[in-house]
Amino acid sequence: MRIIRTIKIDTDKCTGCRACELACAGFHAEPKYSTINPKRSRIRVQRDEQNKLFVPVKAGPYTEAECSGRNILVIKGKEYGECSFCRSACPARDLFKEPDSGLPLKCDMCGEPAPEEPLCVKWCLPGALTFHKRVEENGPVLPAEAEYADEVEEL
């Protein structure tokens, strides 16, 4: 048996309020909650008000090298670099790195012991972030799942 924990992101419901950033940053402060600094958050909201595009992006793994070929996304008629929605802490940018030390940040689904609901989900009143947990029979972890599920916990 294993539990797969996922956060579903509904960008249509996101109001771009960045409460998720503040909650995550506070939760991971040392000591807990002692500081607020969204630049330390493991979730950052890409905001383009003119195009009403609010996309929360959770920090993924650190990558040693930046992508060689980057794609261009066209959303509602406007062009965006692929980096805008990328999860990686990557040498090409400051996003998802501690502002002082530059160390990479990664979403840990709120560490151990895992809170009942991840903090960003709890603070997202508009319901853009929802938490889903499903139990699956044991079996080989499919590569696709291993890559995309946020946290796989073997029981």
Binding site: P31, K32, T35, N37, Q50, K52, L125
Partner: protein, 660 residues
């Protein structure tokens, strides 16, 4: 180490290019907490009565609140204070959105801008990197484009920009300072003060921590607030809707002051196709694509609507109705276009929509003609008229020159009886709600306001009060929506007559509410979350005191907080009295005393109004000239302010309103 505050203030002199970062003394923070109060102190000490508002000597003082940027829901405000070019009095404009939190994260609680640049510049603050950069290429650009260009130029799509548009550059008195999702510092000509300094924009990006003294207690409190915010969230979802329907009707009902008075008789009201209007609005709302909100605010406050030419407009509150009522046009696509034009040109929608209504009214009354308007035919219900006036005003072009300094100034150029159509309080245009001004509470809150902005004066429960039955009032008093002290319950429960003669309740609530707003504007919260709406989750001073205490680690009681609010309010009053504000300025448009907009209403008797004012002053600890007494100031630790006020006493022969 201070908690809550960042500990420093940044002062930038545009004339010399000098930038100074200074530590702020802890007791200064404790006395004022931030925002309105801190600004008022700096203003009192440094902007003297003879300073010309558009000269290099005026300061633009910007302070965040002690809670700004913390986990407290809606803690995202900064207050912009300056001497207003419109009435030469103190003005404090509040900005939400994301800019204030970003400023605070650069490590500065406050920013003071003085002097005047030799050519257009913009200010870039990135933590300790502080630069004045050339803005020649931005001058003349709208606020949307300016923001995009700065983000591109500094290669940072997450920095926040507060900037002026053409209206500010051209020193229009309705000019605002605009920022993200329609957040702006709008009232009193904030944009003109920036324009006069040749300061196009202030771009900020900060990476500093905001430290909290009792983090667990604060988080727990905030989670409780969120958990209990259900009714408020629902109200906010319906708020746009309520505003729109009310104000669609409002073209007849709310009383557009600028026209031959609307007919408020029951026949006329029910003649309107209410169902049709409601249905039409439902249809319209289907175009909405979700909502947007300010930093750390989880409610659906601003409705996002796609603009026909691409992009989005975000509508909330008076954006829905200001132009519809002003120009007598029931058409939501018109509202969208006006909203876009005002935000892009950097204009206060309340002020500019009233200027336009005033002009059309004068034309319709034959007071002005095509000779004055440069050939323009000013008709009600004509979108093109409104669009061209918005452009002409922001560019001070043609007839727009006449309107660029507001209705009061325009009326004094025009003469010919125009002043009888110029509706303003202390020379500031105000939200059209004529019919409401007849109630002591509402009339008074507007007349005495140091900002003349309905969302800085009135509270949810008191607005609702007149419309509630005795049982409903009792239920409200027993519910969490009750915001006043225990001994105010009887004023809320008692019945009252509609002629304004029993004013005790109204005066008490007015005198309590403006103090609460001063607290809210000093600690950095949003008016909706605190006072303006009935189910506001942070509506009690006790709760606010707790949040400030957990944030700072200081033990701030409810009474301490009350003093902070009172201190800010009295300092602003002192500044204004010192600048010549008199009792007669605490008044409503003359028309309220002459011709009411409905056969329901009798003209408001000036003698009655004077009684409201007498009582309000008494409750405030001000003398009958509206000047704070030395005891009042002493209790607030402001006794050194008194001599300057003493000089003003009797400087103007004591006139009550009805005598002049």
């Amino acid at each position: 180490m201070v908690y809550g505050w960042m500990g420093s203030l940044l002062e930038v002199d545009l004339s010399s290019g000098e930038k100074k970062k200074r530590a702020v003394a802890t007791d200064f923070y404790e006395t004022y907490l931030g925002g309105k109060g801190m600004n008022a102190r700096i203003y009192y000490d440094r902007i003297h009565p003879e300073v010309e508002p558009l000269s290099p000597d005026n300061l633009l003082i910007i302070s965040t609140g002690v809670l700004t940027g913390t986990m407290v829901p809606s803690a995202n405000r900064a207050i912009f204070s300056f001497k207003s070019p419109q009435n030469r009095l103190h003005m404090h404009s509040a900005m939400g959105g994301f800019w204030p939190v970003e400023l605070k994260q650069t490590g500065h609680d406050s920013l003071i801008i003085k002097g005047q640049a030799a050519k257009p510049v913009y200010l870039w603050i990135h933590d300790d990197i502080i630069e004045l950069r050339d803005a020649a290429h931005l001058w003349g650009k709208g606020t949307y484009e300016t923001t995009q260009m700065i983000r591109k130029e500094l290669n940072n799509d997450k920095l926040q920009v507060a900037c002026i548009g053409p209206a500010g550059e051209n020193l229009c008195y309705a000019a605002s300072i605009e920022s993200s999702v329609g957040a702006s510092a709008s009232r009193g000509g904030a944009g003109a003060v920036m324009g006069a300094k040749f300061l196009k924009a202030i771009a900020v990006y900060g990476t500093r921590d905001i430290r909290l003294a009792r983090p667990h207690a604060l988080f727990e409190k905030c989670e409780q607030i969120l958990a209990g915010s259900g009714p408020f969230q629902r109200d906010m979802e319906n708020f746009s809707y309520t505003m729109a329907v009310l104000n669609t009707l409002g073209t007849g009902m709310f009383g557009n002051l600028n026209e031959t008075y609307p007919d408020l008789s029951p026949e006329s009201l029910f003649k309107q196709d209410l169902d049709g209007i409601v249905l039409g609005f439902h249809e319209w709302l289907k175009k909405a694509e979700g909502s947007a909100a300010c930093s750390n605010c989880g409610v659906k406050c601003r409705t996002a609507l796609p603009l026909p030419g691409g992009g989005y407009a975000y509508l909330k509150c008076h954006l829905w109705n200001a132009f519809m009522v002003g120009a007598k046009i029931v058409d939501y696509s018109f509202v969208l276009e006006c909203c876009r034009l005002s935000q892009d040109n950097g204009l206060d929608i309340n002020a500019v929509s009233r200027c336009i209504a005033f002009a059309i009214d004068l034309y319709q009354q034959g007071i002005i003609t095509k000779q004055d308007t440069g050939g323009m035919d000013l008709r009600w219900n004509d979108k093109e008229v409104v669009y061209s006036l918005i452009h002409d005003i922001s560019l001070r072009r043609g007839f727009g020159r006449m309107l660029a300094e507001g209705v009061h100034a325009a009326a004094s150029y025009i003469c010919r009886g125009a002043e009888n159509h110029a509706h303003h309080i202390k020379k500031l245009e105000y939200v059209p709600s004529a019919a409401l001004l007849y109630l002591p509470y509402l009339g008074l809150t507007q007349a005495i306001s140091d900002k003349v902005d309905i969302s800085r004066n009135v509270s949810g429960p008191s607005i609702a009060w007149a419309g509630l039955t005795t049982e409903q009032r009792q239920a409200l008093v027993d519910s969490p929506a009750w915001i006043y002290p225990k001994d105010y319950e009887r004023y809320f429960l008692q019945n009252f007559s509609l002629d304004g003669s029993d004013h005790e309740s109204g005066c008490r609530f007015a005198a309590y509410d403006d103090e609460t707003y001063s607290i809210v504007d000093s600690i950095g919260l949003c008016a909706y979350w605190t006072v303006f709406l009935m189910n506001a989750p942070i509506n009690s001073r006790a709760l606010m005191a707790e949040l400030v205490s957990h944030t700072t680690g200081l033990d701030i009681s409810e009474d301490d907080l009350t003093l902070v609010g009172r201190r800010a309010l009295n300092l602003v009053r002192a500044i204004n009295v010192r600048s010549g504000l008199q009792r007669k300025d605490d008044s409503l448009s003359k028309i309220i005393h002459k011709t009411p907009p409905s056969p329901f209403l009798k003209p408001l008797d000036p003698v009655v109004f004077d009684k409201w004012l007498d009582r309000y002053y008494e409750l405030k600890g001000w003398n009958q000239e509206g000047i704070p007494t030395s005891q009042t100031l002493q209790a607030l630790g402001l006794e050194e302010v008194f001599p300057a006020l003493k000089k003003m006493e009797g400087a103007h022969a004591h006139h009550t309103n009805h005598k002049n």
